[in-house]
Protein backbone atom coordinates (compact mmCIF):
# COMPACT_ATOMS: atom_id res chain seq x y z
CA UNK A 1 0.00 0.00 0.00
CA UNK A 2 2.68 2.49 0.97
CA UNK A 3 5.48 0.99 -1.11
CA UNK A 4 5.44 3.74 -3.75
CA UNK A 5 4.97 6.50 -1.19
CA UNK A 6 7.43 8.96 -2.67
CA UNK A 7 5.98 8.86 -6.15
CA UNK A 8 2.47 9.15 -4.76
CA UNK A 9 3.26 12.45 -3.08
CA UNK A 10 5.11 13.71 -6.12
CA UNK A 11 2.10 12.86 -8.27
CA UNK A 12 -0.13 14.70 -5.85
CA UNK A 13 2.02 17.82 -6.06
CA UNK A 14 2.02 17.63 -9.85
CA UNK A 15 -1.79 17.29 -9.97
CA UNK A 16 -2.13 20.15 -7.52
CA UNK A 17 0.16 22.56 -9.36
CA UNK A 18 -1.68 21.98 -12.64
CA UNK A 19 -4.39 24.47 -11.68
CA UNK A 20 -3.74 28.20 -11.95
CA UNK A 21 -6.27 28.99 -9.23
CA UNK A 22 -4.48 26.67 -6.83
CA UNK A 23 -1.18 28.42 -7.58
CA UNK A 24 -2.74 31.83 -6.95
CA UNK A 25 -4.22 30.57 -3.69
CA UNK A 26 -0.86 29.15 -2.64
CA UNK A 27 0.84 32.47 -3.41
CA UNK A 28 -1.68 34.45 -1.32
CA UNK A 29 -1.46 32.02 1.59
CA UNK A 30 2.35 32.05 1.54
CA UNK A 31 2.41 35.86 1.44
CA UNK A 32 0.21 36.12 4.52
CA UNK A 33 1.95 33.29 6.36
CA UNK A 34 5.38 34.82 5.79
CA UNK A 35 4.08 38.20 6.96
CA UNK A 36 2.52 36.64 10.04
CA UNK A 37 5.67 34.72 11.00
CA UNK A 38 7.88 37.74 10.30
CA UNK A 39 5.74 40.05 12.47
CA UNK A 40 5.41 37.44 15.19
CA UNK A 41 9.23 37.25 15.41
CA UNK A 42 10.25 40.87 14.87
CA UNK A 43 7.25 42.63 16.43
CA UNK A 44 6.85 46.30 15.63
CA UNK A 45 10.47 47.00 14.75
CA UNK A 46 10.21 46.62 10.96
CA UNK A 47 6.79 48.23 10.51
CA UNK A 48 6.75 51.69 8.92
CA UNK A 49 5.02 53.13 12.01
CA UNK A 50 4.15 51.96 15.50
CA UNK A 51 0.62 50.53 15.07
CA UNK A 52 -0.55 51.78 18.47
CA UNK A 53 1.10 55.20 18.48
CA UNK A 54 -1.26 58.10 17.78
CA UNK A 55 -0.71 61.18 15.62
CA UNK A 56 1.95 59.69 13.34
CA UNK A 57 0.04 61.32 10.49
CA UNK A 58 -2.98 63.54 9.87
CA UNK A 59 -6.38 62.62 11.33
CA UNK A 60 -8.41 60.63 8.74
CA UNK A 61 -5.67 61.13 6.14
CA UNK A 62 -6.25 59.69 2.67
CA UNK A 63 -3.97 56.90 1.37
CA UNK A 64 -0.63 58.38 0.29
CA UNK A 65 2.98 57.38 -0.24
CA UNK A 66 3.77 57.89 3.46
CA UNK A 67 0.62 56.17 4.69
CA UNK A 68 -0.28 53.44 2.20
CA UNK A 69 -3.78 52.79 3.59
CA UNK A 70 -4.27 56.25 5.08
CA UNK A 71 -4.48 57.21 8.74
CA UNK A 72 -7.37 56.73 11.15
CA UNK A 73 -9.37 58.96 13.47
CA UNK A 74 -6.50 59.03 15.99
CA UNK A 75 -3.83 59.62 13.37
CA UNK A 76 -2.57 56.04 13.47
CA UNK A 77 -1.11 54.38 10.38
CA UNK A 78 -3.71 51.90 9.07
CA UNK A 79 -1.27 49.85 7.00
CA UNK A 80 0.91 49.17 10.06
CA UNK A 81 -2.17 48.26 12.07
CA UNK A 82 -3.42 45.80 9.47
CA UNK A 83 -0.02 44.15 9.06
CA UNK A 84 0.48 44.01 12.82
CA UNK A 85 -2.84 42.16 13.24
CA UNK A 86 -1.88 39.40 10.78
CA UNK A 87 -0.26 36.96 13.26
CA UNK A 88 -3.21 37.08 15.68
CA UNK A 89 -5.85 36.56 13.02
CA UNK A 90 -4.02 33.69 11.32
CA UNK A 91 -2.90 32.03 14.57
CA UNK A 92 -6.47 31.79 15.82
CA UNK A 93 -7.57 30.15 12.58
CA UNK A 94 -4.69 27.69 12.49
CA UNK A 95 -5.02 26.67 16.13
CA UNK A 96 -8.78 26.20 15.84
CA UNK A 97 -8.39 24.10 12.69
CA UNK A 98 -5.48 22.10 14.12
CA UNK A 99 -7.37 21.23 17.28
CA UNK A 100 -10.53 20.32 15.34
CA UNK A 101 -8.43 18.23 13.00
CA UNK A 102 -6.83 16.21 15.79
CA UNK A 103 -9.99 15.91 17.89
CA UNK A 104 -12.11 15.14 14.82
CA UNK A 105 -9.82 12.37 13.61
CA UNK A 106 -9.56 10.90 17.12
CA UNK A 107 -13.32 10.85 17.74
CA UNK A 108 -14.20 9.97 14.15
CA UNK A 109 -11.85 6.96 14.15
CA UNK A 110 -13.25 5.69 17.41
CA UNK A 111 -16.82 6.04 16.16
CA UNK A 112 -16.14 4.65 12.70
CA UNK A 113 -14.00 1.74 13.84
CA UNK A 114 -16.04 0.50 16.79
CA UNK A 115 -19.50 1.69 15.77
CA UNK A 116 -22.40 0.82 18.05
CA UNK A 117 -23.38 2.98 20.99
CA UNK A 118 -20.25 5.22 20.93
CA UNK A 119 -20.89 5.97 17.29
CA UNK A 120 -24.54 6.76 17.91
CA UNK A 121 -23.74 9.08 20.84
CA UNK A 122 -21.06 10.93 18.95
CA UNK A 123 -23.14 11.46 15.83
CA UNK A 124 -26.14 12.75 17.80
CA UNK A 125 -23.96 15.22 19.68
CA UNK A 126 -22.61 16.54 16.38
CA UNK A 127 -26.24 16.94 15.24
CA UNK A 128 -26.90 19.24 18.19
CA UNK A 129 -23.90 21.44 17.41
CA UNK A 130 -24.83 21.51 13.71
CA UNK A 131 -28.28 22.87 14.54
CA UNK A 132 -26.87 26.17 15.84
CA UNK A 133 -24.84 28.48 13.61
CA UNK A 134 -21.16 28.51 14.59
CA UNK A 135 -21.06 32.26 15.07
CA UNK A 136 -24.10 32.33 17.36
CA UNK A 137 -22.79 29.43 19.44
CA UNK A 138 -19.31 30.94 19.69
CA UNK A 139 -20.94 34.22 20.64
CA UNK A 140 -22.88 32.65 23.49
CA UNK A 141 -19.79 30.86 24.78
CA UNK A 142 -17.78 34.06 24.47
CA UNK A 143 -20.37 35.90 26.55
CA UNK A 144 -19.95 33.35 29.33
CA UNK A 145 -16.13 33.39 29.16
CA UNK A 146 -15.82 37.14 28.63
CA UNK A 147 -14.15 38.82 25.65
CA UNK A 148 -10.54 38.22 24.69
CA UNK A 149 -8.43 36.53 22.04
CA UNK A 150 -7.76 33.35 24.01
CA UNK A 151 -11.37 32.99 25.13
CA UNK A 152 -12.53 33.42 21.54
CA UNK A 153 -10.16 30.69 20.49
CA UNK A 154 -11.48 28.34 23.17
CA UNK A 155 -15.05 29.05 22.08
CA UNK A 156 -14.25 28.28 18.45
CA UNK A 157 -12.24 25.17 19.35
CA UNK A 158 -15.16 23.86 21.34
CA UNK A 159 -17.63 24.05 18.45
CA UNK A 160 -15.53 23.53 15.36
CA UNK A 161 -14.71 19.79 15.49
CA UNK A 162 -18.04 18.10 14.50
CA UNK A 163 -17.62 18.22 10.69
CA UNK A 164 -14.14 16.76 11.11
CA UNK A 165 -15.44 13.94 13.30
CA UNK A 166 -18.13 13.22 10.70
CA UNK A 167 -15.71 13.23 7.81
CA UNK A 168 -13.18 11.08 9.71
CA UNK A 169 -15.91 8.66 10.74
CA UNK A 170 -17.12 8.20 7.18
CA UNK A 171 -13.61 7.67 5.88
CA UNK A 172 -12.65 5.36 8.74
CA UNK A 173 -15.79 3.31 8.12
CA UNK A 174 -14.89 3.00 4.45
CA UNK A 175 -11.27 2.09 5.06
CA UNK A 176 -11.98 -0.38 7.87
CA UNK A 177 -13.92 -2.56 5.43
CA UNK A 178 -10.97 -2.85 3.10
CA UNK A 179 -9.08 -6.13 2.83
CA UNK A 180 -5.81 -4.94 4.29
CA UNK A 181 -7.55 -3.94 7.51
CA UNK A 182 -9.29 -7.32 7.64
CA UNK A 183 -5.91 -8.94 7.13
CA UNK A 184 -4.36 -6.86 9.89
CA UNK A 185 -7.21 -7.78 12.24
CA UNK A 186 -6.91 -11.46 11.35
CA UNK A 187 -3.19 -11.46 12.01
CA UNK A 188 -3.86 -10.28 15.55
CA UNK A 189 -2.36 -6.79 15.43
CA UNK A 190 -3.80 -4.70 18.25
CA UNK A 191 -6.47 -2.14 17.53
CA UNK A 192 -4.34 0.90 18.38
CA UNK A 193 -1.71 -0.22 15.90
CA UNK A 194 -4.32 -0.82 13.19
CA UNK A 195 -5.71 2.66 13.73
CA UNK A 196 -2.36 4.42 13.66
CA UNK A 197 -0.69 2.51 10.83
CA UNK A 198 -3.59 1.57 8.56
CA UNK A 199 -6.60 3.78 9.14
CA UNK A 200 -5.28 7.24 10.01
CA UNK A 201 -2.67 7.57 7.23
CA UNK A 202 -5.32 6.63 4.69
CA UNK A 203 -7.95 9.13 5.82
CA UNK A 204 -5.58 12.04 6.30
CA UNK A 205 -5.52 13.59 2.80
CA UNK A 206 -9.24 14.31 2.24
CA UNK A 207 -9.56 15.72 5.74
CA UNK A 208 -6.49 17.87 5.22
CA UNK A 209 -8.02 19.26 2.00
CA UNK A 210 -11.24 20.06 3.85
CA UNK A 211 -9.25 21.71 6.65
CA UNK A 212 -7.48 24.05 4.22
CA UNK A 213 -10.82 25.08 2.76
CA UNK A 214 -12.14 25.54 6.27
CA UNK A 215 -9.41 27.93 7.46
CA UNK A 216 -11.10 30.62 5.40
CA UNK A 217 -14.37 29.99 7.19
CA UNK A 218 -12.71 30.35 10.58
CA UNK A 219 -11.11 33.60 9.42
CA UNK A 220 -14.57 34.95 8.46
CA UNK A 221 -16.30 33.78 11.64
CA UNK A 222 -13.46 35.04 13.81
CA UNK A 223 -13.53 38.39 12.00
CA UNK A 224 -17.26 38.54 12.72
CA UNK A 225 -16.75 37.88 16.41
CA UNK A 226 -13.97 40.42 16.52
CA UNK A 227 -16.26 42.90 14.72
CA UNK A 228 -18.80 42.37 17.49
CA UNK A 229 -16.11 43.34 20.00
CA UNK A 230 -15.64 39.87 21.49
CA UNK A 231 -11.98 39.39 20.73
CA UNK A 232 -8.89 41.54 21.45
CA UNK A 233 -9.64 44.84 23.14
CA UNK A 234 -8.41 48.21 21.90
CA UNK A 235 -5.84 49.55 21.27
CA UNK A 236 -4.46 46.20 19.98
CA UNK A 237 -5.35 46.11 16.28
CA UNK A 238 -7.52 43.33 14.86
CA UNK A 239 -9.11 43.21 11.40
CA UNK A 240 -12.74 42.69 12.41
CA UNK A 241 -12.56 45.16 15.28
CA UNK A 242 -10.95 47.74 13.00
CA UNK A 243 -13.89 47.56 10.58
CA UNK A 244 -16.28 48.17 13.44
CA UNK A 245 -14.25 51.07 14.81
CA UNK A 246 -13.85 52.72 11.41
CA UNK A 247 -17.33 52.27 9.95
CA UNK A 248 -18.47 55.50 11.60
CA UNK A 249 -16.18 57.34 9.17
CA UNK A 250 -17.75 55.73 6.13
CA UNK A 251 -18.82 59.09 4.72
CA UNK A 252 -15.66 61.10 5.34
CA UNK A 253 -13.09 58.31 4.89
CA UNK A 254 -14.69 55.29 3.19
CA UNK A 255 -11.33 53.54 2.72
CA UNK A 256 -10.83 53.15 6.47
CA UNK A 257 -13.34 50.30 7.06
CA UNK A 258 -12.87 48.92 3.55
CA UNK A 259 -9.14 48.14 3.75
CA UNK A 260 -9.25 45.72 6.71
CA UNK A 261 -12.45 44.13 5.36
CA UNK A 262 -10.86 43.59 1.94
CA UNK A 263 -7.77 42.08 3.56
CA UNK A 264 -10.05 39.56 5.31
CA UNK A 265 -11.69 38.74 1.97
CA UNK A 266 -8.31 38.24 0.28
CA UNK A 267 -7.13 35.84 2.99
CA UNK A 268 -10.36 33.86 2.67
CA UNK A 269 -10.10 33.73 -1.12
CA UNK A 270 -6.49 32.53 -0.81
CA UNK A 271 -7.42 29.66 1.46
CA UNK A 272 -10.48 28.68 -0.62
CA UNK A 273 -8.48 28.57 -3.84
CA UNK A 274 -5.77 26.54 -2.14
CA UNK A 275 -8.33 24.21 -0.55
CA UNK A 276 -10.20 23.76 -3.85
CA UNK A 277 -6.94 22.90 -5.58
CA UNK A 278 -6.04 20.36 -2.90
CA UNK A 279 -9.53 18.80 -3.06
CA UNK A 280 -9.41 18.51 -6.83
CA UNK A 281 -5.97 16.91 -6.61
CA UNK A 282 -7.27 14.43 -4.01
CA UNK A 283 -10.21 13.55 -6.26
CA UNK A 284 -8.05 13.14 -9.36
CA UNK A 285 -5.70 10.92 -7.42
CA UNK A 286 -8.46 8.67 -6.11
CA UNK A 287 -10.03 8.36 -9.57
CA UNK A 288 -6.87 7.22 -11.33
Amino acid sequence: MISNKESRYRRFVRLFLKGNQAKLGLAIVILFLVTAVFIAITGKSFLPYNPIEQDVGPVLGAPSAQHLFGTDNLGRDVFSRIVFATPNDLAVSFIVIASSFVLGIFLGCIAGFWGGLIDEMLMRSTDVIFAIPALILAMSIAVILGPGLIHMMYALMLIWWPPYARLARGEALRISQRNFVEAAKASGINTFKILTTHIIPNILTPILAYATLDIGTVVIVYAGLSYLGLSVQPPTPDWGAMVNAYQDYLVSAPWLPLFPAIVIAIVVIGFSLLGNGLRDAVELQTIS
Partner: protein
Amino acid sequence: MQFGYYLDGLLHGDLGFSVFKGEPVSEAMLQTLPFTLQIAFFAILFTLGIGIPLGVLSAKYHHTVVDYGITGFYLAGIASPYFLLALFLLIVFTFMLHLLPSGGALSPGITAPYPITHFQLLDSLIEGRWSTFVDGLFHLIMPSLALALGIFGFITRVLRASILDVMHANYIRTARAKGVDENTLFFKHALRNASIPVVTLASIVVTWLVTGTLFVETIFAYPGIGQYAVQALSNLDYPSLLAITLVFAVIIVLSNLAADVLYAVVDPEIRL
Protein backbone atom coordinates in the same frame (compact mmCIF):
# COMPACT_ATOMS: atom_id res chain seq x y z
CA MET B 1 -33.84 22.75 38.84
CA GLN B 2 -33.55 26.19 37.24
CA PHE B 3 -33.30 24.48 33.89
CA GLY B 4 -36.52 22.65 34.75
CA TYR B 5 -38.29 25.94 35.44
CA TYR B 6 -36.92 27.34 32.21
CA LEU B 7 -38.17 24.36 30.19
CA ASP B 8 -41.56 24.59 31.89
CA GLY B 9 -41.70 28.29 31.00
CA LEU B 10 -40.71 27.52 27.42
CA LEU B 11 -43.63 25.14 27.02
CA HIS B 12 -45.94 27.95 28.09
CA GLY B 13 -44.33 30.42 25.69
CA ASP B 14 -42.42 32.17 28.47
CA LEU B 15 -38.88 32.97 27.31
CA GLY B 16 -37.89 34.92 30.42
CA PHE B 17 -37.70 38.62 31.16
CA SER B 18 -35.21 40.96 29.54
CA VAL B 19 -34.01 43.50 32.10
CA PHE B 20 -32.30 45.51 29.39
CA LYS B 21 -35.42 45.84 27.23
CA GLY B 22 -37.70 46.13 30.24
CA GLU B 23 -40.18 43.68 28.76
CA PRO B 24 -40.63 39.91 28.44
CA VAL B 25 -38.29 38.34 25.89
CA SER B 26 -41.25 36.89 24.02
CA GLU B 27 -42.60 40.42 23.52
CA ALA B 28 -39.25 41.65 22.14
CA MET B 29 -39.13 38.56 19.95
CA LEU B 30 -42.58 39.28 18.53
CA GLN B 31 -41.47 42.78 17.59
CA THR B 32 -38.13 41.86 16.03
CA LEU B 33 -38.61 38.45 14.41
CA PRO B 34 -41.07 39.62 11.70
CA PHE B 35 -38.57 42.21 10.50
CA THR B 36 -35.90 39.56 10.17
CA LEU B 37 -38.29 37.22 8.37
CA GLN B 38 -39.05 40.03 5.92
CA ILE B 39 -35.34 40.47 5.22
CA ALA B 40 -34.85 36.71 5.01
CA PHE B 41 -37.70 36.35 2.53
CA PHE B 42 -36.26 38.94 0.17
CA ALA B 43 -32.72 37.69 0.74
CA ILE B 44 -33.78 34.21 -0.36
CA LEU B 45 -35.53 35.69 -3.41
CA PHE B 46 -32.36 37.61 -4.33
CA THR B 47 -30.17 34.57 -3.61
CA LEU B 48 -32.17 32.34 -5.94
CA GLY B 49 -32.62 35.18 -8.45
CA ILE B 50 -28.86 35.71 -8.69
CA GLY B 51 -27.58 32.22 -7.88
CA ILE B 52 -29.63 30.08 -10.27
CA PRO B 53 -29.22 32.12 -13.49
CA LEU B 54 -25.49 32.53 -12.86
CA GLY B 55 -25.12 28.80 -12.16
CA VAL B 56 -26.98 27.95 -15.37
CA LEU B 57 -24.95 30.48 -17.38
CA SER B 58 -21.60 29.33 -16.09
CA ALA B 59 -22.50 25.69 -16.80
CA LYS B 60 -23.80 26.47 -20.29
CA TYR B 61 -20.67 28.45 -21.15
CA HIS B 62 -18.25 26.43 -19.05
CA HIS B 63 -14.54 27.11 -19.48
CA THR B 64 -15.19 30.39 -21.27
CA VAL B 65 -14.71 33.98 -20.14
CA VAL B 66 -18.33 34.04 -18.89
CA ASP B 67 -17.67 31.07 -16.63
CA TYR B 68 -14.44 32.53 -15.22
CA GLY B 69 -16.09 35.91 -14.63
CA ILE B 70 -18.96 34.31 -12.73
CA THR B 71 -16.55 32.14 -10.74
CA GLY B 72 -14.58 35.21 -9.70
CA PHE B 73 -17.78 37.03 -8.76
CA TYR B 74 -19.16 34.30 -6.52
CA LEU B 75 -15.79 33.56 -4.93
CA ALA B 76 -15.53 37.23 -3.99
CA GLY B 77 -19.08 37.06 -2.58
CA ILE B 78 -18.47 33.95 -0.49
CA ALA B 79 -15.13 35.22 0.78
CA SER B 80 -16.39 38.65 1.80
CA PRO B 81 -17.50 39.09 5.38
CA TYR B 82 -21.06 40.46 5.56
CA PHE B 83 -19.89 43.78 6.93
CA LEU B 84 -17.76 44.31 3.82
CA LEU B 85 -20.74 43.62 1.52
CA ALA B 86 -23.02 45.85 3.58
CA LEU B 87 -20.54 48.74 3.73
CA PHE B 88 -19.82 48.40 0.04
CA LEU B 89 -23.52 48.59 -0.89
CA LEU B 90 -23.92 51.51 1.48
CA ILE B 91 -21.11 53.43 -0.18
CA VAL B 92 -22.36 52.71 -3.71
CA PHE B 93 -26.13 53.06 -3.37
CA THR B 94 -26.40 55.66 -0.63
CA PHE B 95 -23.34 57.85 -0.69
CA MET B 96 -22.47 57.73 -4.38
CA LEU B 97 -25.78 57.20 -6.18
CA HIS B 98 -28.14 58.52 -3.47
CA LEU B 99 -30.68 55.90 -4.52
CA LEU B 100 -31.47 54.01 -1.33
CA PRO B 101 -31.90 55.03 2.32
CA SER B 102 -28.94 54.30 4.60
CA GLY B 103 -30.83 52.44 7.28
CA GLY B 104 -33.87 51.88 9.44
CA ALA B 105 -37.12 50.16 8.51
CA LEU B 106 -39.03 53.29 7.45
CA SER B 107 -38.04 56.84 6.58
CA PRO B 108 -38.31 59.36 9.42
CA GLY B 109 -41.71 61.07 9.26
CA ILE B 110 -43.55 57.99 8.07
CA THR B 111 -45.45 56.36 10.92
CA ALA B 112 -45.42 52.61 11.20
CA PRO B 113 -48.72 50.87 10.38
CA TYR B 114 -50.77 49.40 13.19
CA PRO B 115 -49.26 46.00 14.01
CA ILE B 116 -51.88 43.47 12.92
CA THR B 117 -49.64 40.74 11.59
CA HIS B 118 -46.44 42.44 12.91
CA PHE B 119 -45.07 42.19 9.37
CA GLN B 120 -44.70 45.83 8.46
CA LEU B 121 -45.09 45.33 4.73
CA LEU B 122 -48.26 43.27 5.13
CA ASP B 123 -49.70 45.65 7.69
CA SER B 124 -49.21 48.67 5.46
CA LEU B 125 -50.94 46.78 2.65
CA ILE B 126 -53.83 45.87 4.93
CA GLU B 127 -54.23 49.53 5.81
CA GLY B 128 -53.94 50.32 2.13
CA ARG B 129 -51.01 52.70 2.59
CA TRP B 130 -49.05 52.30 -0.61
CA SER B 131 -46.42 54.93 0.14
CA THR B 132 -45.54 53.20 3.42
CA PHE B 133 -45.33 49.87 1.64
CA VAL B 134 -43.00 51.23 -1.04
CA ASP B 135 -40.88 53.03 1.56
CA GLY B 136 -40.56 49.84 3.59
CA LEU B 137 -39.61 47.96 0.45
CA PHE B 138 -36.87 50.48 -0.34
CA HIS B 139 -35.42 50.01 3.13
CA LEU B 140 -35.38 46.26 2.62
CA ILE B 141 -33.41 46.16 -0.62
CA MET B 142 -29.90 46.77 0.65
CA PRO B 143 -29.96 44.54 3.75
CA SER B 144 -31.39 41.61 1.82
CA LEU B 145 -29.09 42.19 -1.14
CA ALA B 146 -26.06 42.23 1.18
CA LEU B 147 -27.14 38.86 2.58
CA ALA B 148 -27.84 37.44 -0.87
CA LEU B 149 -24.43 38.52 -2.24
CA GLY B 150 -22.74 36.54 0.52
CA ILE B 151 -24.80 33.41 -0.07
CA PHE B 152 -25.65 33.08 -3.76
CA GLY B 153 -22.20 31.66 -4.51
CA PHE B 154 -22.99 28.39 -2.74
CA ILE B 155 -25.94 27.87 -5.08
CA THR B 156 -24.09 28.93 -8.22
CA ARG B 157 -21.15 26.65 -7.45
CA VAL B 158 -23.20 23.56 -6.71
CA LEU B 159 -25.66 24.13 -9.57
CA ARG B 160 -22.82 24.57 -12.07
CA ALA B 161 -21.05 21.39 -10.97
CA SER B 162 -24.30 19.46 -10.87
CA ILE B 163 -25.47 20.55 -14.35
CA LEU B 164 -22.09 19.63 -15.83
CA ASP B 165 -22.39 16.27 -14.08
CA VAL B 166 -25.90 15.61 -15.34
CA MET B 167 -25.06 16.60 -18.92
CA HIS B 168 -22.79 13.55 -19.07
CA ALA B 169 -25.53 11.19 -17.93
CA ASN B 170 -26.78 8.44 -20.21
CA TYR B 171 -30.37 9.68 -20.44
CA ILE B 172 -29.13 13.02 -21.75
CA ARG B 173 -27.21 11.19 -24.47
CA THR B 174 -30.34 9.17 -25.25
CA ALA B 175 -32.47 12.29 -25.43
CA ARG B 176 -29.93 13.99 -27.65
CA ALA B 177 -29.81 10.92 -29.89
CA LYS B 178 -33.60 11.05 -30.19
CA GLY B 179 -33.22 14.54 -31.59
CA VAL B 180 -34.43 16.66 -28.69
CA ASP B 181 -33.20 20.19 -29.33
CA GLU B 182 -30.42 21.56 -27.12
CA ASN B 183 -32.53 24.09 -25.23
CA THR B 184 -35.28 21.66 -24.25
CA LEU B 185 -32.57 19.20 -23.31
CA PHE B 186 -30.79 21.71 -21.13
CA PHE B 187 -33.72 23.33 -19.39
CA LYS B 188 -36.17 20.43 -19.19
CA HIS B 189 -34.05 17.32 -18.84
CA ALA B 190 -30.84 18.53 -17.24
CA LEU B 191 -31.89 21.44 -15.04
CA ARG B 192 -34.58 19.61 -13.13
CA ASN B 193 -32.30 16.75 -12.21
CA ALA B 194 -29.41 19.07 -11.52
CA SER B 195 -31.45 21.01 -9.00
CA ILE B 196 -31.58 18.09 -6.54
CA PRO B 197 -28.14 18.75 -4.99
CA VAL B 198 -29.06 22.43 -4.67
CA VAL B 199 -31.84 21.53 -2.24
CA THR B 200 -29.17 20.04 0.03
CA LEU B 201 -27.82 23.55 0.42
CA ALA B 202 -30.96 24.79 2.18
CA SER B 203 -29.46 24.32 5.63
CA ILE B 204 -26.16 26.01 4.70
CA VAL B 205 -28.04 28.91 3.16
CA VAL B 206 -30.28 29.37 6.20
CA THR B 207 -27.32 29.08 8.59
CA TRP B 208 -25.39 31.81 6.79
CA LEU B 209 -28.54 33.88 6.45
CA VAL B 210 -29.12 33.77 10.19
CA THR B 211 -25.48 34.60 10.89
CA GLY B 212 -25.56 37.41 8.39
CA THR B 213 -28.57 39.16 9.91
CA LEU B 214 -26.42 40.00 12.94
CA PHE B 215 -24.09 42.17 10.88
CA VAL B 216 -26.41 43.40 8.19
CA GLU B 217 -29.16 44.52 10.57
CA THR B 218 -26.62 46.25 12.80
CA ILE B 219 -25.05 48.16 9.92
CA PHE B 220 -28.39 49.14 8.37
CA ALA B 221 -29.98 49.81 11.78
CA TYR B 222 -32.80 47.44 10.85
CA PRO B 223 -34.88 46.58 13.93
CA GLY B 224 -34.78 42.78 13.50
CA ILE B 225 -33.64 39.90 15.63
CA GLY B 226 -30.02 40.28 14.48
CA GLN B 227 -29.76 43.79 15.84
CA TYR B 228 -31.56 42.64 18.97
CA ALA B 229 -28.93 39.88 19.37
CA VAL B 230 -26.05 42.33 19.06
CA GLN B 231 -27.68 44.70 21.57
CA ALA B 232 -28.31 41.83 23.97
CA LEU B 233 -24.69 40.82 23.55
CA SER B 234 -23.25 44.20 24.43
CA ASN B 235 -25.62 44.51 27.41
CA LEU B 236 -25.02 40.95 28.63
CA ASP B 237 -28.74 40.29 28.46
CA TYR B 238 -28.62 36.52 29.10
CA PRO B 239 -32.36 35.66 28.83
CA SER B 240 -32.52 37.36 25.44
CA LEU B 241 -29.35 35.67 24.17
CA LEU B 242 -30.64 32.29 25.28
CA ALA B 243 -33.95 32.85 23.55
CA ILE B 244 -32.33 34.14 20.36
CA THR B 245 -30.04 31.11 20.17
CA LEU B 246 -33.08 28.90 20.66
CA VAL B 247 -35.09 30.67 17.95
CA PHE B 248 -32.17 30.44 15.50
CA ALA B 249 -31.80 26.72 16.21
CA VAL B 250 -35.53 26.17 15.66
CA ILE B 251 -35.36 28.08 12.36
CA ILE B 252 -32.49 25.91 11.17
CA VAL B 253 -34.17 22.64 12.20
CA LEU B 254 -37.38 23.74 10.45
CA SER B 255 -35.46 24.64 7.29
CA ASN B 256 -33.88 21.18 7.30
CA LEU B 257 -37.36 19.71 7.50
CA ALA B 258 -38.48 21.92 4.64
CA ALA B 259 -35.49 20.74 2.61
CA ASP B 260 -36.50 17.12 3.16
CA VAL B 261 -40.00 17.86 1.92
CA LEU B 262 -38.58 19.73 -1.07
CA TYR B 263 -36.50 16.68 -1.97
CA ALA B 264 -39.65 14.71 -2.51
CA VAL B 265 -41.02 17.46 -4.75
CA VAL B 266 -37.91 17.73 -6.89
CA ASP B 267 -37.00 14.06 -6.98
CA PRO B 268 -39.97 11.74 -7.52
CA GLU B 269 -37.81 8.74 -6.57
CA ILE B 270 -37.83 9.86 -2.95
CA ARG B 271 -40.99 9.04 -1.03
CA LEU B 272 -41.56 10.55 2.39
